[in-house]
Amino acid sequence: MKKFKYLIPKTLDEAVSLNQSHEGSAIYVAGGTDVMVKIKSGKLAPDYLISLKHIGVGSQLGVNRETGALHIGGLVTHRTLETSSLIRLQYPIIHDAVQRIGSTQIRNVATIGGNLVNAVPSADGAIPLIALDARVNIYGSAGERTVDLVHFFEGPGQTVMDRGEIVTEIVVPKQPSRTGGAYQKFGRRAAMELPLIGVGVLITLEEGSNRCAKARITLGVAAPTPIRTLSAERYLVGKEITENTLNEAGKLAAEESRVRDSVRGLAWYRREMVEVLVQRMGVKCLQRIKETEAL
């Protein structure tokens, strides 16, 4: 294992400037659960780790009263999201995902920002956030910028972030009323899984009807990055949400997926599961909309 120095900046700007002064030989670290494994295995060999845990920003979790948007700091742990009643009650699609990431021990430490930056194709944390049209605030030496999460990923381990940039915040815009979302991670055992496939569905219904006003169908492990399946989404908009239309959306999503064979699962099976789970998550969306309305 390569030896490294651990730097502890106290502000965001200090972190960025430390990164600049160790150009190419430093990486940021938050919870460190992924970074540590990669260093141990030799996949990463930095001279410096720059800790983001003490920069004083990125730990916020709450709804902006003016905009109604949900703000999740980049340093918020999965466990904080899992145990937040705000997330559980108002954003169950996020709760679905975060409660099944790693173990309690991992979730106590690992951050949502780290999960996004890690950019694995499964990215459990990202799938629901993409469905919610989340944007990512990124800070670097050139200042702050905002990127739609759906455009954040470029490939396995690849994002739009420039060297030295930091995910400070994820912002989920206020969702229209009559919106329901659900995510399922599909694996071989009940916990400690990387998914064979991950499926997130978010549906907004028109007022007073079962007609779909907006749909998001997002997939993990269906392509080199998390993806939206636009053809399936477009298909649903304007249609009654029924078992049939959800089935059809499932088929379209399966066709649009670019699943592959790997040690973890076969392509044909993954495609089948996209079809099945899009339909099931769609049904769950409807249930959740009804439950919310019944309150």
Binding site: M1, R188, R189, V263, A267, Y269
Partner: protein, 783 residues
């Protein structure tokens, strides 16, 4: 409450025990709950070096050159060894596995070089600096392909990939029985590699003293046989007539993985020999997955037939076993498979042959059940199929064919105590097999027979015990048994405490050290409670007799009027003499005597003859598992709703520990059935971590119901039989049978993944293709 009289008939008196049959905590549990227990991970010796092994980069290749110059030059590196540097140490009972390979590697896990350094990080770096030039050879990974004449040879000198182990038996006349049979089934089943996944990884420390006596600290299930293996290595090093001491720290799980000695242990010895310092080799998790031996994969062809009443007439089985590149005990698992094949249910005509085949895969080892899980998967799946063919209810079919006390099976196994009928009843009653059910839900059952009274694999199946008592009535028991977490120390302490009228806390069991403890052939074949228990019981009886004689002399009361319990002698319910006082009296007196006894117990079982006949165990354990599953027909996922495991254990010495063996066995069996597999691609282990090797988690845990059937075995210590392995033997076929009951598809290849289930459902519904892969543009078959 078990009524002995009702169960057994032979028992005249209801026995009352103070310790036997109680839910007593494990004697080592407090140390383990407080972090005090020391494992190989926790041991360090002064001046100790850290060893590390370099493995092959090819599954089959000539080694052209091993360049060690850079590694040797690295500061902190003390010793670097290659196959050219060391005398020809060969491992395994077949001696086909050179400790360090020279000339040729035959699998990815082949050891090519080893280093010892002052620090684990330096050792790791040194390994990365060793330059090996290989010349790749064609390799063979499929055991059936490996039998073809054109297949590359793994060991050229053998001229064939077939091991010369003629596992073949024929009792009765199978061909004639086939003509008589009214209903027949004929099927192919397969099982793949699964691995022990001991939570504590493998490790050893070797240490020579100045006279070249060797001490090895190692995780082993076979201290006395390991001592012998290490002596052989010393002999090859030219070190003769020296002592070898094997010390066994706490073991982080065994399950059969430590039944042999391995390269890392012998490598630590050689490195310590050349470095003249203690050397520790400790596996990392990935190494544990790659360089330890998994359960033997099998391809099984079975045909079985019955008459019109459903009585089994014959069982005809043949198997091909993937031995891997070298030979360990996995190659001898057919000897145990013969037991269920010839003797699970009454079947008069049996034929069996097995071929163990060299391939360029990892070499296999025994794992919990020693071949029995593989054989029982095929047998019990086929039993269900045959019952269906005969139109007989599955439970009834098993009742008709159940073993009974007094049976002698075609292999010559003498069935004495046998609770199989009761096990079948318990399961069928609990799961209500006839009950109507919802869609996708099904029930299944499967039974087992296993050695319950030792297993005579070697010339001896013996175990020694020494007991001594001190001035205070405390008892030290030195046993040959190996506690690796299963709780044998506790069982032995209970047996001794019961016999000597003391409490379990008064008994200290030593099992850790060959310098102190007597000889034993190892913790295998679910033999420890029976064999080590009888050995300890015999020693305790000797002490008890002496104590009684002394107490009679001291008190003037006849021996038969003295009752030994609660640390004292009682006469008519009143304590008259504490044991401690008696012992002090015997020590502090002219011409006194020391209270110590030894006992060597070798059970009355038999080695198999050339015809593979022989009563290999003094008694047999039986059991039946039943399971209710729900199959998600859209995803192929199997959910276990209820699980019941009924076992004939003779007597439950400690129901708390017994439950633990059953629950643990069941979940390991569920993993075998549904999720676990070492994914081997062209000889390479593709999932050497807990992320992709699917050991089940607490969230997957099944609240299995453990039912104990007590048959009070005549030979067993207080009537007990073995239970270590049976819990994972019938799990996979019970689940496969339940899936068939649920959705009408039968999966014949383990593990039963959702992919296999869904593909089978599609096939049943007439769908063959699973569509075009959008990425590769290729048609995808469903299977």
């Amino acid at each position: 409450m078990i009524d002995d009289q009702e169960r057994n008939g032979k028992k005249e008196i209801m026995e009352e025990f103070t310790v036997i049959g109680k839910r007593i905590s494990k004697v080592d549990a407090v140390d383990k709950a407080t972090g005090r227990a020391l494992y190989i991970q926790d041991l360090k010796l002064p001046g100790m070096l850290y060893g590390r092994i370099l493995y092959s980069k090819y599954p089959h290749a000539h080694i052209i050159r091993v360049g060690t110059e850079k590694a040797k030059a690295l500061p902190g590196v003390i010793t670097v060894l290659t196959g050219e540097d060391i005398p020809p140490v060969r491992l395994g009972f077949y001696k086909d596995n050179p400790l360090l390979k020279a000339g040729k590697v035959r699998s990815y896990r082949d050891e090519v070089a080893a280093v010892a350094a002052t620090d684990p990080e330096i050792a790791r770096e040194a390994i990365s600096l060793i330059d090996v030039t290989y010349e790749a050879l064609p390799a063979i990974f499929d055991p059936e392909e490996a039998l073809k004449p054109e297949a590359p040879l793994v060991h050229e000198e053998h001229k064939t990939n077939l091991l010369k182990m003629p596992w073949s038996l024929h009792y009765g006349d199978v061909e004639a029985a086939k003509l008589d049979a009214v209903f027949n089934v004929s099927e192919r089943f397969s099982t793949t590699w699964v691995t022990h996944c001991c939570m504590g990884t493998s490790g050893a420390i070797a240490d020579f003293d100045h006279s070249n006596n060797l001490t090895v600290y190692t995780n082993t299930q076979i201290p006395s046989l390991a001592q012998k293996d290490f002596q052989e290595t010393l002999k090859i090093l030219g070190v003769k007539d020296k002592r070898v001491r094997v010390i066994k720290p706490c073991i982080g799980g065994g399950f059969g993985s430590k039944l042999d000695t391995y390269a890392y242990e012998h490598m630590a010895i050689l490195l310590a020999w050349y470095a003249r310092r203690p050397v520790k080799i400790l596996f990392e998790r990935e190494e544990e997955f790659i360089a330890t031996s998994p359960r033997q994969p099998t391809v099984t062809y079975i045909s079985m037939g019955c008459d019109k009443e459903g009585r089994l007439l014959y069982r005809d089985m043949s198997m091909v076993l993937d031995n891997g590149a070298y030979t360990s005990w996995g190659a001898t698992t057919p000897s145990v498979m013969m037991m269920p094949i010839t003797s699970l249910y009454r079947v008069p005509n049996v034929r069996y042959s097995a071929k163990c085949v060299y391939t360029n895969n990892t070499y296999s080892q025994a794992m919990r059940g020693y071949g029995n899980p593989q054989a029982t998967f095929a047998i019990e799946s086929a039993i269900d199929m045959l019952a269906e063919a005969a139109g007989i209810d599955r439970v009834e079919f098993r009742r008709i064919n159940s073993n009974q006390p007094g049976d002698v099976t075609p292999q010559g196994l003498r069935i004495t105590s046998c609770g199989l009928p009761e096990c079948i009843e318990a399961v069928s009653k609990d799961l209500e097999f006839g009950r109507s059910r919802e869609n996708g839900v099904g029930v299944g059952l499967a039974s087992l027979i296993h050695v319950g009274g030792g297993a005579r694999i070697y010339k001896s199946d013996g175990c020694g015990t020494i007991i001594k008592m001190d001035d205070y009535g405390k008892v030290d028991v030195f046993t040959g048994a190996s506690d690796m977490g299963q709780g044998s120390d506790t069982i032995i302490a209970q047996i001794v405490a019961e016999e000597l009228g003391v409490q379990v806390d008064d008994v200290h069991v030593f099992h850790q050290d060959t310098d102190i403890c007597p000889w034993d052939v190892g913790a295998h074949a679910s033999r420890t409670t029976f064999v080590a228990g009888n050995s300890a019981l015999g020693a305790a009886k000797k002490i008890r007799l002496r104590l009684l004689a002394m107490a009679s002399k001291a008190t003037g009361v006849d021996e038969d009027k003295l009752v030994l319990r609660d640390r004292a002698f009682f006469v008519e319910g009143k304590p008259v003499l504490p044991i401690a006082k008696l012992l002090r009296g015997s020590h502090f007196t002219p011409r006194g005597e020391m209270m110590m006894a030894d006992n060597f117990y070798d059970p009355p079982n038999e080695n198999m003859g050339k015809d593979f006949r022989g009563n290999m165990s003094a008694t047999y354990s039986f059991g039946t598992h039943g399971v209710r599953v729900k199959v998600d027909e859209a995803t192929g996922k199997v959910e276990i709703l209820d699980y019941i495991a009924a076992h004939d254990v003779g007597r439950a010495i400690n129901p708390l520990l017994l439950d633990g063996q059953v629950h643990g066995g069941v979940l390991m069996g569920v993993g075998y059935a549904l999720t676990e597999q070492v994914i081997m691609e062209n000889g390479r282990n593709m999932n050497p971590d807990f992320r992709d090797y699917k050991v089940l988690t607490a969230m997957d845990a099944i609240h299995s119901k453990a039912v104990v059937i007590e048959t009070i075995d005549d030979q067993g210590p207080f009537g007990a039989k073995g239970i270590g392995e049976p819990g994972c033997v019938p799990t996979a076929p019970a689940i496969a049978n339940a899936i068939y009951d649920a959705i009408g598809v039968r999966i014949k290849d383990l593990p039963i993944t959702p992919e296999k289930v869904l593909a089978a459902i599609k096939k049943k519904n007439g769908t063959v293709s699973c569509g075009i892969d959008a990425f590769t543009q290729k048609e995808q078959a469903c299977e």
